[in-house]
């Protein structure tokens, strides 16, 4: 029961929390935040679980990096659309 598994388990908790937030929240911004949180949880599992198995592993770390960049881009795009939507009179918390 190494620290890495704890990371993973914490990741699981984060995921669970953000799932709750993502579904229950109405405001689109909150949802976006939940998404980002959930990403962190997933990345924690991604790194934690393999490292729990056989020590430091560069591969999941690289994957997480990629994942982060993708998540950032997606978040940025989501923000752009969200802002445009709100400015065109849309309700951000339908």
């Amino acid at each position: 029961m190494g620290v890495d598994l704890w990371y993973a388990l914490v990741g699981a908790v984060i995921i669970a929390l953000s799932v709750f937030a993502f579904i229950s929240a109405r405001h689109l911004m909150k949802k976006l935040l939940a998404f980002n949180m959930m990403g962190s949880g997933v990345f924690l599992i991604m790194v934690g679980l393999p490292q729990h198995q056989h020590g430091v592993d560069a591969v999941p770390q690289a994957l997480v990096l990629t994942g982060i960049v993708v998540a950032v881009s997606a978040t940025a795009l989501a923000l752009v659309i969200l802002r445009r939507y709100v400015r065109s009179g849309g309700d951000p918390a339908p």
């Binding site: 997606a74 659309i81 939507y85």
Partner: protein, 479 residues
């Protein structure tokens, strides 16, 4: 050879981003021809030489990433190239009225194409994730292109669903990597056992992919997104994009996680499919907007794809093969038919300036070809012969008979009638002679490309053997 299919769209994406506006349009056709040619050549190669894999950067899997081209893959590649080509030709003329949108449309279009090709060819779970994200973002970008409020809302919903789905998928991938230490699909499919970790991983990935595929009851985002986008975008989305996540789903259930999935889970998937058929058809029957009708039809038709799982899992090999073949055919036929349908409906809406079904009267006089294309594609969607849709339905029915799953037999057979119920709403109205609107002239190519797609959907009814024979190249019933 194989990466050419990625390079072409990526290169053209860059070109269309950087070249002056007038060039953007000019390079579309050469690009499409190249793409189509490459896909066909690859088809031939695979057909003559058998499945191939390609180690990118010369790093063998699992360290590196491989591309895998088997019969199924090349079929999908060819499908993508063909549909994309026709949609692009349509878009060339359609977007003439959308000056600003058309500039950003093309880079996104090419990226979409690249991501689709990437997904078909991928043999790595994480690479699939990146592909899915690329696909999702470019699709969302295209949906939001008009910057109108409904479109933006639809794009947001779509984006959130896509992102949430991708993350769920990624969580599953993380578990799989944690449990097996590799991401290469061929390797995984030999190793994966039916333990709890795998099952949870498969469940997570399935939820994510179901959301992205818009399977009932996770379909809420699809109708506004597909119904609200520009016609060529809708066509691409409905015809190809949702199929990508379904493809991955099938890959996971039938190949990677074949030992981890249970028959009852497969039945549950079937039940979702049945729900999709019913719910989608019902909503299509109720909606007052013609594009929404087509979009809900996609929801319903995706339900048929889900029949693959109950029909192919836990049954005899013959039945599974038939289910698989039927699903492929349905995928192809629906892709062509739905693209044709969206394009024709798009033409109608463009010409009459609105999409209210009740006021479509008199269209048949002015736009017979568009309506005819709609009709032909409807034939395929209803699963009436002769059409690819019919052959697909036939194979699914045969598979249900073979495995004695009569409940699915009833669903599949009855689904066609539901489809007919909403499709004929359009015909019914279009035959009335009361004209309540000005009809603007549209470029004939718009109608023609829709018609061509529809003809392919019908022609697939006579040429089903080709894709099926290509598909056999994988050996067994799975990719």
């Amino acid at each position: 050879m194989i990466p050419i299919l990625l390079i072409i769209p990526l290169a053209f994406a860059i070109l269309s981003l950087l070249l002056p506006r007038k060039w953007t349009r000019t390079i579309v056709i050469p690009g499409l021809i190249l793409q189509l040619g490459a896909a066909l050549i690859l088809c031939l190669t695979i057909y003559t030489e058998g499945p191939q894999d390609y180690a990118l950067g010369d790093w063998q899997a699992p360290l590196g990433i491989s591309l895998l081209a088997d019969g199924f893959t090349v079929t999908l590649l060819a499908l993508t190239a063909l549909i994309a080509a026709l949609c692009a030709i349509y878009a060339l003329f359609f977007l003439e009225r959308y000056n600003r949108e058309q500039f950003y449309f093309w880079p996104l279009f090419w990226f979409l194409l690249a991501s689709l090709n990437g997904i078909w060819l991928a043999a790595d779970l994480f690479n699939l994730y990146v592909g899915l994200e690329l696909l999702g973002l470019s699709a969302v970008g295209m949906v939001a292109l008009t910057s109108e409020r409904p479109a933006l809302k639809a794009a947001l919903d779509y984006l959130y669903a896509a992102l949430f789905g991708s993350l769920a998928y990624l969580a599953g991938v993380a578990l799989i990597y944690g449990a097996y230490g590799t991401l290469a699909i061929p390797q995984l499919s030999e190793m994966v056992a039916g333990n709890i970790t795998t099952q949870v991983a498969v469940a997570l990935m399935s939820v994510g992919l179901l959301l992205k595929t818009a399977i009932f009851p996770l379909h809420f985002w699809l109708p506004p997104a597909h119904g609200g986008a520009l016609a060529p975008v809708s066509a691409l989305l409905s015809a190809l994009v949702v199929k990508a996540s379904f493809y991955i789903l099938a890959l996971i259930w039938l190949d990677v996680g074949a030992l981890a999935v249970t028959v009852s889970a497969a039945q549950l998937m079937g039940a979702l499919g049945a729900g999709a058929i019913l719910w989608g058809s019902w909503n299509a029957f109720k909606t007052p907007q013609v594009k929404m009708l087509v979009a809900y039809s996609t929801v319903a038709q995706l339900g048929y794809l889900m029949m693959l799982f109950p029909l192919a899992i836990g049954v005899s090999e013959a039945a599974a093969t038939m289910a698989w073949q039927g699903t492929i055919l349905h995928l192809l036929a629906h892709a062509f038919a739905k693209a044709a349908m969206f394009l024709s409906v798009g033409t109608l809406v463009l010409a009459i300036g609105h999409g209210r079904i009740a006021d479509l009267g008199g269209v048949s006089q002015h736009m017979p070809m568009a309506l005819f294309a709609f009709g032909l594609s409807a034939v395929s969607l209803m699963g009436l012969p002769p059409s690819g849709g019919f052959n697909a339905k036939w194979l699914l029915l045969q598979s249900a008979i073979q495995s004695g799953q009569w409940h699915w037999f009833v669903v599949i057979a009855g689904g066609g009638l539901l489809t007919a119920a909403y499709v004929f709403r359009i015909f019914r109205v279009s035959f009335t002679e009361t004209v309540r609107h000005e009809i603007q002239a549209t470029h004939p190519m718009l109608q023609l490309s829709a018609l061509l797609l529809a003809f392919i959907a019908i022609g697939l009814g006579f040429a089903s053997e080709w894709p099926l024979r290509l598909m056999d190249l994988t050996g067994g019933g799975t990719p």
